[in-house]
Amino acid sequence: MTTTLIETPRTSVAVAASMRGGTKTYGHGDAEVRALDGIDVDVATGEFTAIMGPSGSGKSTLLHTLAGLDRLTAGQSWIGDQELSRLSEDKITQVRRDKIGFVFQAFNLIPSLSARENITLPLDISGRRVEQAWFDEVIGILGLGDRLTHLPAELSGGQQQRVAVARALVARPELIFADEPSGNLDSRSGGELLAFMRRAVTDFGQTIAMVTHDPTAASFADRVLFLADGRIVDEMRDPTAELVLDRMKQMGH
């Protein structure tokens, strides 16, 4: 391991996911790209964390490696107290299945399944029962009650993203990762979606880590991490859209 480890010790306060010395490189020699360059980060339980930064700064890569979708080149990352680099592919799959929910920017849903089936898919896969009360509550909040039998192709972009959020919430994962979930939506539907996510954190104690470009989206979070060239260059607590925008301008965005 090349990075200097344990500069910041892993805290004992409840941490949902963390990374130490996280490095990810693509390609070799001259073509080498350092997408992540020694990242130390903790995602606290029950918090809404936003990740921001210029395009190509490594936001998506950070999210993917934290979530166990992709492996680090060097360094370590944990979900809860399980260190992912030590786990086999099958075990990581199991961690994703049992502990993590996802919302992507696009293509979130299986085209052949109805909205309801998409929402309960993670539970069906792991053979868990759907908690009907919780299901109804989530559906109610997201306003999807009359769309449950529709196929994804029959839903609007905003509805599709809400179904994706519902899917992430219904399984009650320890942690939800979202990569520009509102990126494809107009400002109103995007705002609604983010408000729902905020509520999930505030009302139900859900932990969420979200990548976004949009300062307004970031203002829904408890804490914003700023990334540049694969490093965390700053962070901000209780952000407002204006403060975030200023910070971004400083970074030359």
Binding site: H64, L69, D70, Q94, F104, S112, L113, I125
Partner: protein, 844 residues
């Protein structure tokens, strides 16, 4: 998982339609055969039941090692004297015993004209017996007129009389071994309950007349009716005690069961034959399935990535795809079974309309269902395994990539495996063909299969440079359409190779058969080069009557007639085919492939290559045991063609061993200077009086006939391969259709920048044609190669020249190009009619 699999199939059934059709076609072929053979079996089992229904016990020749009672319809030898019938009648429990005798002959139609056409001369077979007057013995009931009371009277079955054009009181002609005999029709009978004779003609004459025609007043069978209350099997056992050696008594019931079982055994071979073709069709179908699932997996990469991201394991993904395959298999096998059954039903109706009732009730046998599902499921699942494994290795990151394309893995592994398999296949074929092992068809068949897979794998590598080589040409001819088509083939070499390979297999088999049959024609031509005979005599009924030969020999201008007889003898306890010739004349008429010539036989025997393989050589002594006697012969020469007869002897030995043996072919040599055409008319006229069913062929006619027969063989096999070829074409269409869907965005883009619909259509057509022609050419190279190897391996059977069927090959290539255009029709249409905006927005 299962629900997800079903949903996925239901969600987009279109992409699986052609796959299902492919599987269904193969399954239908198998199901139809099973249904038909089952119905045939039912029909004949009913026939046998009726033949033996009334008779309690049958006394007959015991089936022996010579195996001449295998054929259920063969006339047997007269082995019972009148005294034997009396002895049987005297046994306790026997109410009556009746000596039965079959007459070999054919009932001629009222408007019969002699024709010198082998195919037409046969007609429906006739079954002619002596009349007992007891329905339990005759198995036939008089329903009109009288039974035959005097020797010039005859009765026919109710269906035959109108079919042949006879009414009561008419004169009926029967062609027999002693000439054409005439009778007066005095009655009509019904066979069994419903006169279901499977198309045969049934006739009865008096006992005396039948003995006169056969030239022997013995009987070939004794039918026994037991007394009321007596147990048939007990009586049969009692009769067995007093019977002469080599005969047996069997109850009617057992006999019917035995005959049905024997017949079913024959039908089993038909089943195996048809299953082989169904397997070929399904093997080709497997290529389509592989391609379809490959493409589907590629198209759904993002979906699978997403599933992986939310926690579906690779194993679960694999299971899901295999489940999808299973769903497809079950649906299409069901369709195939139903279609096969309906096809068989339709065919049986047509056949029965043409040739009378030969099928029993056409029902769907359990065999058809079991085989249908097993074959369908097996092929589909096996074919889906590789794509399924591929899907299971998709990483969750794939869900996040922009576009879904097949990973560009290098082809090296594929080439190595392909090369190794190709080599292994060739080795297995060579070993099978030339090493003289016990069951050569096993290594040859397996080798051919491995070779095909190997070549398929290698084809991906061949296609890339080939498509590139073609690119310049296609670009010059078709401009940008040609360039895009070449690029498309090039882009997915595996997929293109698999598609072309499916066609390759069908064409390979066709080319193989064509090479084989054309070489067979060369063989025929060569054999006639050493021919001196002016005519070949055949009988549509089997053996040529002695009397007919006397008629020919008696005509002016005939120098001599030389005949070939066939029989079976025992050599060291093994049944051995023996051919009988006249050494002095045979070689004059025909230059046999032997060493030395037959005229050096010197009272000994010639042996064929199979005997040499078994360890016999010139100078050895052979102890032959025939029905009439034994003979110890010295091997004086070798007959060099395998497959005609194993041992050749002269006529004197033949008679000593076999008594009267059947003559299967005679050759007529004319005096010098006699005009053959005039002589042919003269001889046919002479034969028309007493032997109107004999056929006299000149060497030219005979050769033509042999070639016709070979063409028929080629035709039948080609038709059976038709299913495989149709499936292969569906494969081309399928691949194009799926890749059109896959390229939706790209095609939309092309249209957006101004490519016309016509150009899009043409691009797809060119792609299809190139793949089709490519597969065909590969198939022809393989097929001709394998055909040549086969011909070489059959050298012992007289093959000397390998003839490449150029005409056929040219035809196949043109047909392939046309088929390519046809197969591209629907995909091209689909691609061209796409809405530009929708295509660009397509999320695939």
């Amino acid at each position: 998982m299962f629900r997800l699999a079903v949903k996925s199939v239901k969600h987009n059934p279109k992409r699986l339609v052609l796959t299902a059709v492919a599987v269904a076609l193969g399954v239908a072929l198998a199901a139809a055969t099973f249904t038909l053979t089952n119905a045939l079996s039912g029909g004949f089992s009913k026939l046998f039941d009726e033949i033996y229904a009334g008779t309690d016990v049958i006394v007959e020749e015991a089936p022996d090692e010579l195996g001449d009672s295998e054929d259920p319809f063969a006339a047997t030898d007269a082995i019972f004297a009148h005294g034997d019938v009396d002895d049987v009648a005297a046994v306790d429990g026997v109410a009556s015993a009746w000596g039965g005798r079959q007459v070999s002959g054919t009932v001629l139609a009222a408007d019969f004209e002699p024709s010198n056409d082998v195919m037409a001369a046969g007609g429906a077979p006739s079954q002619i017996f002596n009349w007992a007057g007891d329905p339990r013995v005759d198995q036939a009931t008089l329903i009109e007129g009288e039974g035959p009371a005097s020797d010039d009277e005859i009765v026919l079955d109710v269906d035959a009389a109108p079919r042949l054009g006879y009414a009561l009181g008419d004169t009926v002609s029967i062609s027999t071994d002693i000439g054409v005999e005439e009778f007066t029709l005095v009655g009509l009978v019904r066979f069994g309950e419903s006169n279901s004779l499977q198309g045969a003609t049934l006739a009865y004459m008096t006992d005396a007349r039948s003995a006169a025609i056969n030239g022997d007043d013995g009987y070939d069978q004794i039918s026994v009716i037991v007394e009321d209350g007596a147990d048939a099997s007990a009586v049969a056992e009692a009769i067995d005690e007093i019977l002469p050696e080599g005969t047996r008594a069997i109850t009617g019931e057992d006999k019917a069961a035995e005959q049905t079982a024997q017949f079913d055994e024959i039908l089993q071979y038909i089943d195996i034959f048809a299953i082989a073709f169904a397997l070929i069709a399904l093997f080709v179908g497997a290529y389509i399935i592989v391609n379809t699932f490959r493409i589907i997996v590629t198209q759904r990469t993002r979906e699978f990535g997403l599933l992986r991201a939310i926690g579906v394991s690779g194993r679960q993904l694999r299971t899901m795809i295999l489940l999808e395959a299973l769903v497809v298999a079950v649906v299409s096998a069901t369709i195939g079974i139903v279609v096969g059954y309906l096809g068989a039903l339709g065919l049986s109706v047509v056949v029965e309309a043409l040739s009378g009732e030969i099928f029993g009730t056409v029902t769907l046998p359990i065999d058809a269902v079991v085989w249908g599902y097993v074959l369908g499921a097996l092929v589909t699942i096996v074919a889906a395994i590789m794509p399924a494994i591929h899907a299971s290795t998709i990483s969750p990151m794939e869900a996040l990539r922009e576009s879904a394309t097949e990973s560009k893995k290098p082809l090296r592994l594929r080439n190595i495996v392909g090369g190794a398999l190709t080599l292994l296949g060739v080795v297995a074929i060579v070993v099978g063909l030339y090493m003289g092992i016990e069951k050569p068809y096993i290594p040859v068949g397996a080798g051919a299969m491995i070779l095909i897979i190997g070549v398929t794998l290698l084809a991906a590598q061949v296609l890339v440079p080939l498509a590139y080589a073609l690119k310049a040409m296609l670009t010059r001819i078709f401009r940008v359409d040609g360039k895009l088509a070449a690029n498309n083939i090039h882009r997915e070499p595996r997929r293109s190779a698999n598609t072309a390979a499916a066609l390759m297999i069908g064409v390979m088999l066709l080319a193989l058969v064509a090479t084989f049959t054309e070489s067979m024609k060369s063989l025929v031509t060569e054999q006639f080069q050493g021919n001196n005979a002016d005519f070949f005599v055949f009988s549509a009924q089997g053996a040529i009557p002695e009397g007919a030969l006397e008629v020919i020999e008696g005509e002016d201008g005939v120098a001599y007639v030389t005949s070939t007889g066939l029989g079976t003898v025992l050599l060291d306890g093994e049944a051995t085919a023996v051919g009988v010739i006249d050494p002095d004349t045979a070689e004059l008429a025909f230059d046999y492939n032997n060493e030395p010539d037959f005229d050096q036989m010197d009272g000994g025997a010639f042996i064929d290559p199979s005997m040499v393989d078994a360890g016999f050589e010139v100078g050895d002594e052979l102890m032959l045991e025939g029905a009439e006697g034994t003979a110890t012969l010295t091997v004086t020469g070798r007959y060099l063609n395998e497959g005609d007869a194993q041992v050749w002897v002269d006529e004197e030995t033949g008679h000593a061993l076999l008594g009267d043996y059947p003559i299967v072919q005679s050759m007529v040599v004319l005096d010098d200077g006699v005009d053959p055409e005039a002589a042919q008319d003269q001889l046919l006229d002479a034969l028309a009086v007493d032997y109107p069913l004999l056929v006299l062929q000149s060497p030219g006619e005979f050769e033509q006939l042999a070639n016709q027969f070979i063409d028929l063989l080629l035709g039948v096999i080609s038709a059976m391969l038709g299913a495989a070829l149709i499936i292969a074409l569906l494969g081309v269409a399928n691949t194009l259709l799926l890749s059109v869907t896959e390229r939706t965005r790209e095609i939309g883009l092309l249209r957006a920048v101004g490519v016309r619909r016509r150009s899009i259509r043409r691009m797809i057509r060119i792609e299809s044609m190139v793949m089709a022609v490519f597969g065909t050419v590969l198939g022809m190279i393989l097929g001709v190669g394998l055909g040549a190897a086969l011909v070489r391996a059959l050298e012992d059977f007289g093959f000397t020249t390998i003839t490449v069927p150029w005409a056929w090959l040219a035809l196949y290539t043109i047909a392939a190009a046309i088929a390519g255009v046809v197969a591209a029709w629907w995909p091209a249409h689909r691609a061209a009619k796409m809405d530009i905006l929708e295509a660009i927005a397509f999320d695939g």
